[in-house]
Amino acid sequence: MAVTDISHRRRFLAQGNVYLPHIAVIEKIIEETAGVRTFHFNFKDEKLREEFTFESGQFGEYSVFGVGEAPFCISSSPTRHDYLEFVVQRVGKVTNALHRLGVGAEIGFRGPYGNSFPLDRLQRQNLVFVGGGIGLAPLRSLIWNVIDNRDKYQNIDIIYGARSPADLCFWYDLDAWDKDKTINMITTVDRGDESWTGRVGLVPQILEQVAPSAQDTVAIVCGPPIMIRFTFPVLIKLGFTPEQMLTTLEKRMKCGIGKCGRCNIGNLYVCRDGPVFTYAQIKNFISSEY
């Protein structure tokens, strides 16, 4: 497969009015679960396709013109760039409108915005990915990024869970990671069904059972807020320091660039200072603001 690695391109900064979206075209739609779809898209402008780059962890503001804009992470890896990907759960006005779009439809994209996963800090470390439901989307960008530079990292554990087998997103990735002998892939569901033979249990509980060593390790956590809240105490119990715990957060956003005001956790704006944070950065506020 011919894949373009754009992770070494110079940092991309849009020129002119930052609020004007780029026009992009949906190229493929994958039905992840009932209500969750992955969209592959590319920019209409050829020059932009050649210049654009992003880092794992960054997000964009996506427009359905006439309906509105909403933020989603870029779920593909910059090391595999024939198209960009984002994942949408159908829950509100914009996400419902996105689910009504078909291949060939035009959307707007502003970005990439926000910080990214600190690759320099992660290299030569063991990595423990802890994901829940659609929260695997930003982790997935990093996981593929790490796999494409596998020799720079040590052991990799992926603990991923969803409410039921039917709610597991990215089954094609889960298969690939399960087959990868350099990765310890653990999939769990809150409740199994008659055909489920894998683990059953909540992600924080399974994490506690797997008990990865905190030595030279960084844990990267993303999932629904309730999963994130219960995962941090488990990591602390396992000996992780607040600096060894990373997460990427989601909040209601409008501008995506630190101006419209609403996505803050304490003095930090998820869009401008995040979405990737260490637990040390947010621990003063997370219990009552997230």
Partner: protein, 318 residues
């Protein structure tokens, strides 16, 4: 040129008719803060429509006209300097900044501050000229005019009918400024307020008490000269689309509402956000308190909520 004006009984800045100067007699401060001139309550960001080639976006034409605001008080001019920090931060906001760059501010010493004013507690004063281009102070039948910025001085130079100020004029201006300063009687202690607020962030009891009478109407934020939160929405009429932005407020639950979560459902969390944003988060991020003591939130609150009482009653914890 825009001057204080009563529009339907509400004092705001409006285009000057070139004649009426009566506002100099009745004007104390505008109800709608001058921020509305730079960040309008609602503005078009761009238009979009779909043709055979797909979506076409078009920005509204900017007239780029130079403007003057006459009679802005120091509290409101300082507020613009505070807003600049956010709108220049990381990514420039083209709408706000193009208006800022095309506008000169002619300040006016505030000789009649309200009981609710407390600018002197925030490092300012009724005659503070640090964020205007030209400063005017009324000294009896005349104005003392001071050019503050280069642009301001340039504007004064060719203006006819001005006389060089005498020593007596300066002395009278000094008196007026000092008298104005002492008319601001309300004070708060802002020393280490960011640290105090951080230490009581989790003090739910305190915030519940502070927010008890708040009705979440949002007026204290919408009419605050340093509040800048906005919403972005689309409108589609007969295939002609407009994306616009409008003022928003942290007082409203929907402001942070996500499909399945809302971190600020309770009103005390929202009021805490408002107070901490101004007195804790802005100082951490930009080194200044995002409040200029203009007193609007006290004067205009329908239930007499008072930010100075809140700041003064923050529990001291170590």
């Amino acid at each position: 040129m825009f001057v204080p004006s009563k529009e339907n009984g509400v004092v705001m800045l409006a285009k000057w008719d070139g004649k009426d100067t009566s506002f100099l007699d009745w004007y104390r401060n505008t109800v709608i803060p001058p921020k509305a001139h730079f960040l309008p309550p609602m503005e078009e960001m761009f238009h979009f429509q779909k043709d055979k080639q797909g979506y076409q976006l078009e920005q509204p034409a900017s007239d780029g006209q130079k403007q003057l605001i006459f009679g802005i008080h120091p509290c409101d001019a300082n507020a613009l300097a505070i807003l600049d920090m956010t709108f220049k931060d990381a990514y420039e906001d083209p709408y706000y900044l193009s208006r800022r760059r095309n506008t000169l501010l002619i300040g006016l010493t505030c000789t009649n501050p309200s009981e609710s004013c407390f600018c002197t507690s925030l490092g300012s004063s009724p005659s503070d000229s640090s964020n205007v281009d030209i400063m005017l102070s009324s000294i009896g039948d005349e104005f003392l005019i001071e050019g503050v910025t280069e642009a301001g001085k340039k504007l004064i130079a060719p203006t006819g009918g001005l006389e060089e100020a005498t020593g007596a004029d300066d002395a009278r201006a000094k008196e007026v400024k000092e008298a104005s300063y002492h008319k601001v009687t309300r004070t708060i202690d802002t020393e280490d307020i960011d640290k105090k607020l951080l230490s009581c962030f989790e003090d739910e009891g305190y915030w519940e008490k502070v927010a008890a009478k708040c009705i979440s109407c949002g007026i204290c934020t919408l009419l605050c000269p340093t509040c800048y939160c906005f919403d972005i929405s689309d409108e589609l009429v007969k295939q002609q689309g407009t994306r616009f932005r409008s003022w928003d407020s942290c007082a409203f639950p929907i402001y942070t509402q996500m499909p399945m979560e809302n971190p600020r459902i309770e009103k005390w969390r929202r009021l805490r956000q408002k107070v901490c944003h101004k007195y804790e988060f802005y100082p951490i991020n930009f080194g200044v308190i995002a409040c200029t003591g203009c007193g609007r939130c006290i004067r205009l609150c329908p239930v007499n909520w008072d930010i100075t009482q809140t700041i003064e009653s923050v529990p001291a914890k170590t």
